[in-house]
Amino acid sequence: MVKVGLRSLLTHKLRLLLTTLAIVVGVASVTGTFILTDTINSTFNRIFQDANAGVAVTVQGHQLRGSGDDIGGPAHAPVPRSLLGTVRGVTGVKDAVGILQRNGATFIGSDGKPLGGNGPPTFGTNWVADAELSPFHLREGAAPSSSDDVVIDALTASKHHVVVGQHILIAFLGGAEEQFLVRGIASFGGSDSLGGATFAIFTEATAERVLDGQNMYTRINVSAVSGTADTDLRDRIAATLPSYAEAQTGQQAAAAAEQSTEATISTFIGTPLLVFAFIFLFVGSFLIVNTFNILIAQRTRELALLRVLGATRRQVLASVLLEASLTGLFASGVGVLAGILVASGLTALIGSPAGTTLALQPRSFIIGIVVGTVVTVGATMIPARRATRVPPVAALREALPETQGLPRRRIASGAVVLVLGWIAIGVALSGATGVTLQLLGGGVLAVFIGVALLAPLLVRPLALVLGWPVRRARGAAGLLAGENARRNPRRTALTSAALMIGLALVTSVAVLTASFRASADAAISGALRGDYIVFARGPAFSPQVADALRSDQRLADVSELRVSDILIGSSSQSLVAIDPASENRTLTFETVSGDVGSISQLNTAILDKGEAASSKVHVGDTVTITFPTGPDLRVRVGGIYNTNALASGYIVSLATLAPHVSMQRDFTVLANAAPGVTVADGESALKSDLSHFPLVMAMSRSEYRDFVGTQIDSLLNLVTGLLLLAIIIAVLGIINTLALSVLERTREIGLLRALGMTRGQTRSMVRWESVIIALLGAVLGLVVGVTLGVALVNALYSLGIDHLAIPFGNMLQYAVIAALFGVAAAVFPSIRASRLDVLQAISTE
C-alpha cells in the first residue's frame, strides 16, 4: 500500500503543485516571521550589550507605570542632576556621568522636511567624554565642544549624505529650529543607529537648553573600579539613593531593554504577521481538502479495485494519508526555505543596516515544517475518510452518480458550528472575558467553517442567479458554465469558500474603517469649532508654538490643549488642561451629567463618560492625581462629557494644572481667523508663523478631516495588501479546481467540440464557470464580511466608533475584482480545455 500512495503522488505531482504552493506560502510566512523577529531582536541585543558594555550600574527614576514596552527599554522617570554628586561619592565608583536623552530633536533637510521617518524616535542627547560609559563612539570628526556643535548618528549621515563640517538645522519640540555645525559622526552600540532612530548629540549645556532638561538626567551611568563586582556596587549605590530613584547593573539594564524590545517587536511585527500566516494556512487548508476530494473522486474506481483485491479500509486510509504527509513535508520544506527569502526581503525592507546576518534558529524551521505538515495531513483527513467509504462494488460500476444534495448531518453540523462561531464572536466582543482576541479569532474561524459547510446549499440557487446573465449573453457556453458550476455543489462551495475568507476579512476591515472614518468625521465636526488645528506627530511640543500664534493679529482665540503624564491610583493616564474660555470658540464639550462648564473653577475636573463608567467615578467625587515631579492634585469631578474627538480622560483648566508641572507641553493648539480675515488668509498667516516649527502640522478644519480620513484609509490599504495574498491563494484554488474539472470532463468537452463548439466557445464556457465560482465567493465573502464588520463596529461603540458606514463602493469594487480574478484563474484551464484533441477526448476512457 505504501507503493500505491507513492505512485499516486508521483502521478499527480503536477496537480498537487498548486496545492503545495498554498502551503508553501503559509509556511514561508510562519518561518519568515520567526526569522525576521529573531534577526531584529538579535541585532538590538547586540547593540544593547555593546552600549552597556562598560556600564557597571545605571541609576534612573522609577519605571513609569503603564509606560508600555518600547524599543530601547521601558521609560523611567528622570533623576535630578544633584544625584550625580551623591553617586560619585560611593566607594568603588570609578566614574559616573549624567545622560540626558529626549525624543524630539529632529534633523531638517535642505528642503525643510524632517529627516528620518514618522515612526522611529528622533533623540537628542549630551556627549559623554568617558567612552566606557557612552553608547556613542566617534567614527569621524570630533566631539562637540562649542554650543552650536552637533555629532550625528552614522545612519542619518550615510542616508542623507551629511558630512563633517557642514551646517544642519535641527528642530526641537521644546522650541523653534536652530542651526548647528556637524562636528562628528558617531555609532551607537557599535551599530549605525538604534533601530531607525536618529541621534543629535550636543554639549551638555546645549542639550540642557535645547532639550529643556529642567536640571534632570534621564539616567546616570556608573563604571566600577577594578575588583568591584557590579552587583555589590549596585547595592551600595542603591543604599544612598532617595526613594524615587533605583539602581540596576549594566547587564540588568541591557536585559530590560532586550525584553521590552522583544515584546514591542512581537506586538507590532511578530504577532500581526503570524496572524496573516495563519490566515494563509487556513485558506490553504481549504485548497487541500478540495484537491484531495477531487483526486479521490477521480480515483474512486482505483480505490475500489484495491478494496476488491483485499485492501482494508485502514490500508486505503494509510495510503491517502501517506500521500498527504509526503506532500505536506515537501511543501513545508520548500516553505521554510522560502521563509528565509521572505525574512531577508523584509529585513531589507525595514531598513536594517547592511551586513545584518539572519538569525536562523532551528526553532523557526521546526515550527514551519510541523505546522505545514500538520495542516496538510489534518485537512486531508476529511477526504481520506471518504476514500475509505468507497465500496468495492464501485470498481464494477460504469460511473458513480454524483452526490446530490447534502446529508442532514452535515447541514446540522454546519449550522451548529456557525451558531457557535457567532456566539463566540458575541461573547468576545462584549468584553465579558479576558481571552477576547483568541475567542474572537476562534469565532471568526468557526463562522468561516460553518458557512463553508452550509455553502453547498447555496451553490445551486446562487449559481442559477449569477449564471442567468451569463446564460443570456453567452448562449450554450453560458448555459454550460452555469450548469458546471452547479453540478458538484460541494466542490464549488469549497472553492469559493476559500475566496470568501480573504474577501470577508477585507470587507469587515473596510466596514470598520469606513465606520471609523464616518465617526471621526462626525466627532471632529462635533468637537472642533476652531478654523485651524495645530498638532505634532509624536511627543507634545513647547508652548512657544501657541505664543507665536498669539502674537499674530490675523489670528484669534488661540487656545492650547496642554498635556501631562499622571497617575491616578496605579493607572498611568494623560491629564489634559484647557483654557475654559475656549469653550464654544475653538472647541466644545457636550455635557452628559453635572456641568462641563464647572472646569472654569480651580481644582475641578471633567471626565469623559467612557472613563467615568470604567473607573466608576461620578459627579461630585474627589480624585487624587499624582504627577511625575510636582505635588499631588486633588480635584472634584464637576461634570461628565461625551466622547470627544480632541481630548479624552480628565480635563482641568490651565490654571489648575500650572502649579503641578515644571515643563509645559501642548499636544494641540486651536485658533480662529481674526474678525475680518478670511479663513484662507488666516491659514497662510498660520503656516508662515509656524515655518520655524517644522515638527508641528497646521491645518484648516476640513484639511484635518481629510488628514484623519487618509490615516484611517492607509490602515485599510495595509490590511488589504496583506490579505491580497490570501485571495491569491484562493485563486490558486480556483485554478486547481478548474484544471481538475476540465480533466474530469475530457469526454464531455470532446463531445461538445464534436457537436460544433468552437475553441473560443469552449474557453468561454470554462471562463464563465470560473467567474461564477469567484462571484459566489465574493457574495459569501461580502455578506459574511459585512456582518462581521457590523458586529465589530457595534463592539467598538465605546471607543467612539458610533457611526455605522457600509462601504458599498468598495464592496462593488471587490466583487468586480473577484470576477476579474475568476477570469484570470480560468486562463490556463480554459486553454487546456480548448486544446483537447477531439478524437482522443471522445475515445478516452
Binding site: L751, L752, M757
Partner: protein, 268 residues
C-alpha cells in the same frame, strides 16, 4: 427490407436541405465522399495504415452500414469522413466541401452545421436535461430550434414524458434515443453513428434502429453507421465491408444472414 428505393424518398422529402440540394451531378447526390483516403499512424517502419486508399460515396438519403473485423479501419474512416480526424493522403468531402483544406475553426463550424453524431457511449452532457441535450447543437450554434421539427423528433423517439429528466435518470436505451434525437434535430447533411447499439440490449437496439430507419425513410436523413452487429447492419440500405483498411465487399438491401456469410468469409 421493405424500404422504398432511396431516390424515391429523396424525391418525396420535404426536408429543406434536401430540397435545396443540387441534384445535377453525381458528387452532389453524395452527402459525403472519401477519395483515395489514406490514414497512417506513426512513421517509418512502425507505421500502420489504418485506412489504405478507400474511395467511397455515401449517397444522400440513404442508410449505409460500415462493417469489418476489429482493426479493419472502419472507425478511423468514419472519424476522418466526419471531420474529427485528418487524413494522411487523399480527401474527404461533406457535400461539396473538401475537409482537408479547412482550419480547425472552419471544421468546427462545418460539423456544427452539417454533421450529426451518435456514439457508442451515448455521450450526453450530464448537467443538462434531455430536452437541453437534444437542442444542444442548435444552442451551440446560437440558433432557435424549429418547434415543429423538434416536436416531430420527440414524437418519433417517444421521449415526450422524459424531456425534463437528466441523463442519470434515463435508461441506456432512452439515453441513446436522446443522443439520436440530438443528432437529428438540426437536420444535418449526414449523421455518423459509431457502434450506436454497442452498449444496448437487444430490445433497446431494435428500437433505436427502428428510429434510425424512420429518420431515413420519413425525413430523408442520410446516415452512416459503423457496427459489427450483423442484425444492426441489416437495417441499412447498403453495407460496406472493410478489411485491412480497404473496401473488400459491398451489399445492397442486406439481410442478417447474408451479412453473416460475408463476415465469416472475411474471418471477422
Amino acid at each position: 427490407m421493405r424500404n422504398p428505393p432511396p431516390y424515391m424518398v429523396l424525391m418525396m422529402s420535404t426536408a429543406p436541405e434536401a430540397a435545396q440540394a443540387p441534384v445535377a451531378t453525381n458528387a452532389a447526390t453524395a452527402a459525403a465522399r472519401a477519395v483515395a483516403a489514406v490514414k497512417e499512424y506513426g512513421r517509418g517502419a512502425t507505421s500502420v495504415r489504418a485506412v489504405d486508399g478507400i474511395t467511397l460515396e455515401l449517397a444522400r438519403g440513404r442508410f449505409t452500414a460500415i462493417m469489418g473485423p476489429s482493426g479493419s479501419g472502419k472507425s478511423t474512416l468514419l472519424h476522418c469522413m466526419a471531420g474529427l480526424d485528418r487524413l494522411t493522403e487523399g480527401s474527404t468531402y461533406i457535400g461539396d466541401v473538401e475537409l482537408g483544406s479547412l482550419s480547425d475553426k472552419e471544421l468546427t463550424l462545418l460539423r456544427r452545421a452539417k454533421v450529426g453524431f451518435i456514439f457508442q457511449t451515448f455521450n450526453l452532457v450530464p448537467t443538462l436535461d434531455a430536452l437541453d441535450n437534444i437542442v444542444l447543437p442548435l444552442t451551440i450554434a446560437g440558433r432557435k430550434p424549429d418547434q415543429a421539427a423538434l416536436d416531430e423528433v420527440v414524437r418519433i423517439t417517444g421521449l415526450g414524458d422524459r424531456l425534463s429528466h437528466r441523463p442519470a435518470e434515463l435508461s441506456g436505451g432512452q439515453q441513446q434515443r436522446v443522443a439520436a434525437a440530438r443528432a437529428l434535430v438540426s437536420r444535418p447533411e449526414i449523421i455518423f453513428a459509431d457502434e450506436p447499439t454497442g452498449n444496448l440490449d437487444s430490445r433497446a437496439s431494435a428500437e433505436l434502429l427502428d428510429f434510425l430507419g424512420h429518420a431515413v425513410t420519413d425525413l430523408g436523413q442520410t446516415i452512416a453507421m459503423v457496427t459489427h452487429d450483423p442484425l444492426a447492419a441489416s437495417h441499412a440500405d447498403r453495407v460496406v465491408f472493410l478489411a485491412d483498411g480497404r473496401v473488400v465487399e459491398e451489399m445492397a438491401s442486406p439481410t442478417a444472414d447474408g451479412i453473416l456469410d460475408v463476415m465469416r468469409h472475411l474471418g471477422g
